[in-house]
Amino acid sequence: MEFENIKRGRVWRFGDDIDTDQIYPGKYLPLTDKTEMAKHAMEGTDRGEEFLKNVKTGDIIVAGKNFGCGSSREHAAIAIKGAGVSLVIAESFARIFHRNCVNTALLTFELKEAKEINDGDIIEVNIDTGEVKNLTQNKVYKAEPVSELEKKIINAGGLLNYLKST
């Protein structure tokens, strides 16, 4: 499955240090079904209910520093992807969360200016160049493009599929 190289979507803004317990509360750790997991994405944040009620396929999460800090639970990345979110932009990511995103085939971008993007903005992200266009604010930013290595893993559907195929 090749992904389209341009992703356009509505922005859901979150703050700094959103930990994995906010992304996916610990009480749902026993769940194993990905569709069920998706029903709890971002549930522990202060706008969890609003997000879950209104999130649509193709929406984009934009967050501040250290997104995904805390525990190493992979459910967090799986739930976000399952909720239909096409990619996550943050000022920075916690290491293990970033690994889990790549390993479970969810696209991430680090963008220094992430905080200039507002909730509800419509943005367009070029996967190959890392160009982020804010169509609402008429601004353009440059994020690090997704590396070739990440692309291969994500295209394969995650780390284990990739390793099986190589």
Binding site: D17, K65, N66, C69, S72, R73, E74, S92, F93, A94, R95, I96, H98, R99, N100, V102, N103, T104, E144, S147, E148, L149, E150, I153, G158, L159, L160, L163, K164, T166
Partner: protein, 416 residues
């Protein structure tokens, strides 16, 4: 190049720079009684009966709930024993101790190695010049199958520690002081190299204390250039062909911090964050219920010796439980031979078998609501050791002094 850049350059066979994504071969893949059973499940779901990539490069350590506290844990350990037998993997059972320490003591980790494991403090292996990384289930399962994983090469921060450490001020006080300055996100996704005269004079136990708490700064790995102190430990633990590793003269560091510890006083991290650090004197007198001396950060022989020096000939306060846990069986034997057990037992301490012990709930010694503990471990997050409890992080010296007085106490009062 910095140490981490050199390690990845060798492991992937081409020069690397920070922020590059690379595949690197692994020298050791470890899992433990926590996380390990999930790895086995994921491995079987994805790779069926396939062998592991190289059974000499895989190890299983039991350190969290040892011996098992309930049937579920017993079952998890059974799953790992069966997997180990099936794949011919070396397993260190309930009579061994803290995983990373066990790997070092068994000669399974050398400078230059890349080691991964299901433990957030794998990075303490930087104390001997190896790159240790804590990883999740999918990473470890994939690594068991292929023996390689992808990495994003981190930038390196250099921390220079000048001055001379004067007991009872210890490496723990130094790292807490650094945490206070850098905060819990101060080394996010970064490698750290600790250097300076104070570091060069540290023994391996102190170096482990320093590097283990890079996790609490959100760092990837903390290195100390291995020298004779480390080589001697490795040689005495059957490691041959030791290759030194050091950063190049012209290595590029993202940031350099300098600290002078000459006048440093004992430090303590107050609830509920490892960077909420003050001088012990600022919270001295606070009543406590329990003291824990041990963990992957402060469970080595030298740590226990410092505690024993304060506890010798004294009694633990009537209102306090003191729990002491050597990090490994080797440490326990050294402590026994040096007469430390006698001192601990006479003082009224509970001495537990080697392992992780009071790092998380689910272990004997958990606190009741409202109780306060001084711990030599590395994390004091809210609820981690019992709902409504408060944990202060300090050195073995501060912990022992506090156990005797029944209140938070500076070890300066006990030192002559």
């Amino acid at each position: 190049m910095t140490i981490i850049e050199k390690i990845f350059t060798r492991a992937c066979g081409k020069p690397v720079r920070p922020d590059m994504y690379v595949w690197a071969g692994l020298d050791l893949v470890a899992m433990r009684d926590f996380g390990g059973p999930n790895v086995v499940q994921e491995f079987k779901d994805n790779f069926g009966d396939a062998p592991v990539f190289d059974n000499r490069k895989v190890a299983i350590t039991f350190d969290l709930h040892i011996p098992p506290r309930d049937e579920k844990v017993a079952r998890n350990q059974q799953i790992l024993r069966m997997f180990a037998k099936e794949k011919g993997i070396r397993l260190f059972d309930v009579n061994t101790g803290v995983g990373q320490h066990i790997l070092m003591e068994n000669g399974l980790v050398r400078p230059w190695d890349i080691v991964i494991g299901t433990d957030s403090h794998m990075n303490l292996l930087g104390a001997i010049g190896a790159a240790g990384f804590g990883m999740g289930t999918t990473d470890i399962a994939g690594a068991l199958y292929k023996g390689k994983l992808w990495f994003k090469v981190p930038h390196t921060i250099k921390i220079v520690i000048n001055g001379i450490l004067k007991y009872p001020v210890t490496a723990k006080d130094v790292i807490l002081y650094i945490l206070k300055n850098l905060t819990t996100s101060g080394a996010l996704n970064r490698a750290i190299e600790f250097t300076g005269e104070a570091v060069k004079m540290m023994n391996l136990s102190e170096r482990i204390t320093l590097t283990s708490m890079v996790t609490e700064m959100s760092g990837d790995i903390g290195f100390i250039e291995p020298d004779e102190t480390v080589f001697e430990f490795l040689r005495s633990h059957k490691v041959e062909n030791i290759e030194p590793i050091s950063a190049d003269e012209d290595a590029e560091y993202e940031k350099v911090y300098e600290f002078d510890i000459t006048s440093l006083r004992p430090q303590i991290a107050c609830p509920h964050s490892p960077d909420n650090v003050v001088d012990v004197s600022e919270v001295a007198g606070r009543k406590i219920d329990q003291v824990f001396i041990g963990s992957c950060t402060n469970g080595r022989f030298e740590d226990l010796k410092i505690a024993a020096r304060i506890l010798e000939g004294k009694k633990v306060n009537d209102n306090v439980r003191l729990i002491i846990v050597p990090s490994t069986m080797e440490v326990a034997q050294m402590a026994e031979e040096a007469g430390l057990y006698k001192i601990f037992l006479k003082s009224g301490a509970v001495v537990v078998n080697p392992g992780c012990s009071l790092c998380t709930t689910g272990h004997p010694g958990i606190l009741a609501p409202g109780e306060v503990m001084v711990s030599t471990s590395n994390r004091n997050f809210i609820g981690k050791l019992g709902k409504g409890a408060e944990v202060y992080l300090a050195s073995p010296a501060t912990a022992a002094a506090s156990a005797v007085r029944g209140v938070i106490t500076s070890p300066m009062e006990f030192w002559s």
